[in-house]
C-alpha cells in the first residue's frame, strides 16, 4: 500500500479544513504533535517532564485513488512559528496548495515564501467567497509576487468538484516542474 501527500496551506480561517473536507472520503481528523514551548525540534521532550508543553494540531483527510494508493491531504498548523513541523510535513510531498483569501492576501505571504525557499511545487488557489472573485489573477500574482510559473486558480473550498480540480492542477504542475528539469 503506497501513500502520497499534498499539503494545504493558507492563513487562519481561509478554509483549509473546509477544502480538505470537501474531497476527503473521511471526516477530517486531527493529529497533534506535542512539544515544549521553547523547543526547536519536533517532540523534544527529553527534559523535565513538567515543562510547559504545547500542541501543534494538523487536520487531515484521505482520498483512496486506487486499490494500492492513498492520498493524504494535510492542513498546515495554524501557527507559523512551528516551521520545523512544516519541514516534517513537506518531506516527500507531491506539493502544496496555498489557499488565498483576497481580502487578506498578506496572510498567505509566509506560506508562499516558505514553499518557494523549500523548492516545493505549489499553486495558489483563490478561495472565492459566495462565488465572488473580485480580483483578477494578475492582481493576485502581482500582490503575492510569485513567479509567473506558479499557477493561480480559482477555487471554492466548499465544493468537491472545485477542490478536485485544484488538486489536479497541483499534480499537473508538479509533473511539469519535474519534466522541465530533465
Amino acid at each position: 500500500m503506497t501513500s502520497v501527500k499534498i499539503v494545504v496551506a493558507g492563513g487562519f480561517g481561509v478554509g483549509k479544513t473546509t477544502f480538505v473536507g470537501s474531497v476527503s472520503e473521511i471526516t477530517p481528523l486531527t493529529t497533534e504533535a506535542v512539544m515544549t514551548a521553547a523547543s526547536t525540534g519536533v517532540d523534544d521532550l527529553s527534559h523535565v517532564p513538567d515543562k510547559t508543553t504545547t500542541t501543534v494540531a494538523m487536520d487531515f483527510g484521505r482520498v483512496t485513488l486506487d486499490a494500492g494508493l492513498i492520498l493524504y491531504l494535510f492542513g498546515t498548523p495554524g501557527q507559523h512559528r512551528f516551521w520545523f513541523m512544516w519541514d516534517d510535513l513537506i518531506q516527500g510531498a507531491i506539493g502544496a496548495v496555498v489557499l488565498v483569501d483576497t481580502r487578506r492576501l498578506a496572510d498567505s505571504f509566509p506560506a508562499v515564501d516558505y514553499f518557494e525557499t523549500a523548492g516545493l511545487p505549489f499553486i495558489v488557489a483563490i478561495n472565492g467567497f459566495h462565488g465572488e472573485f473580485p480580483h483578477s489573477m494578475q492582481d493576485v500574482q502581482e500582490a503575492l509576487s510569485v513567479s509567473p510559473n506558479v499557477p493561480i486558480v480559482e477555487c471554492d473550498a466548499r465544493g468537491r468538484a472545485s477542490t478536485k480540480a485544484t488538486l489536479i492542477a497541483l499534480v499537473e504542475h508538479a509533473m511539469a516542474m519535474q519534466m522541465s528539469v530533465r
Binding site: V4, E32, V63, L71, Y72, D88, G92, I168, V171
Partner: protein, 141 residues
C-alpha cells in the same frame, strides 16, 4: 532496545524485548493527557528510524503469540492496523501524540509486529510514474 542509550529514560539496563518494559504507569493514561505524553515510550522521544507522517502501517500476519505482554497502546495499534493505516491516522484515532505513535510503530516494526511502507525520501519527491498514477486516480473521483 539492548542496552540503555542516552535517549532512554528510565534506563532498561540491557533488557531485551523492548516492548515488554513499556507499560504505562498504573491506572489508565487519560486520553487527552498532556502531562506525560511520553510515559508510554519510557521517555524516549526519538524513534528508531524516521517515519513519515503518511507512512502506512499494517499488523503482520504472525502465529498466535501472547499479546498481553504488549502495552495497551501497542495492542490498540495492532487492532487498528488490521487494515493499512497511516501513522497520522494512528495518532488521530487512537488519540496519541504524533511523536509517540512514531516511536511505538517504529519499535513494533523492528519487532516484526507490523509492516511499514513509505516512499524512499532519499529519492526526493514522488516520480513521474507515481504522479501520473495520482492524476489518474484524481480524475476518476
Amino acid at each position: 532496545m539492548a542496552g540503555s542509550g542516552p535517549d532512554e529514560w528510565p534506563p532498561t539496563g540491557g533488557r531485551r524485548g523492548s516492548l515488554n518494559g513499556m507499560r504505562p504507569p498504573s491506572g489508565d493514561l487519560p486520553a487527552s493527557s498532556l502531562v506525560r505524553p511520553y510515559a508510554v515510550t519510557g521517555g524516549r522521544t526519538k524513534p528508531r528510524y524516521q517515519l513519515q507522517i503518511e507512512a502506512m502501517v499494517a499488523a503482520s500476519h504472525y502465529e498466535a503469540r501472547d499479546l498481553s505482554v504488549l502495552s495497551p497502546e501497542c495492542q490498540a495499534i495492532l487492532g487498528f492496523c488490521r487494515d493499512w493505516r497511516s501513522v497520522a491516522e494512528v495518532s488521530a484515532v487512537l488519540r496519541m501524540p504524533l511523536g509517540v505513535a512514531r516511536v511505538l510503530i517504529a519499535d513494533m516494526a523492528v519487532e516484526g509486529l507490523v509492516r511499514v511502507h513509505q516512499l524512499d525520501h532519499a529519492q526526493g519527491r514522488p516520480d513521474l510514474n507515481l504522479l501520473e498514477r495520482v492524476l489518474s486516480g484524481l480524475r476518476k473521483l
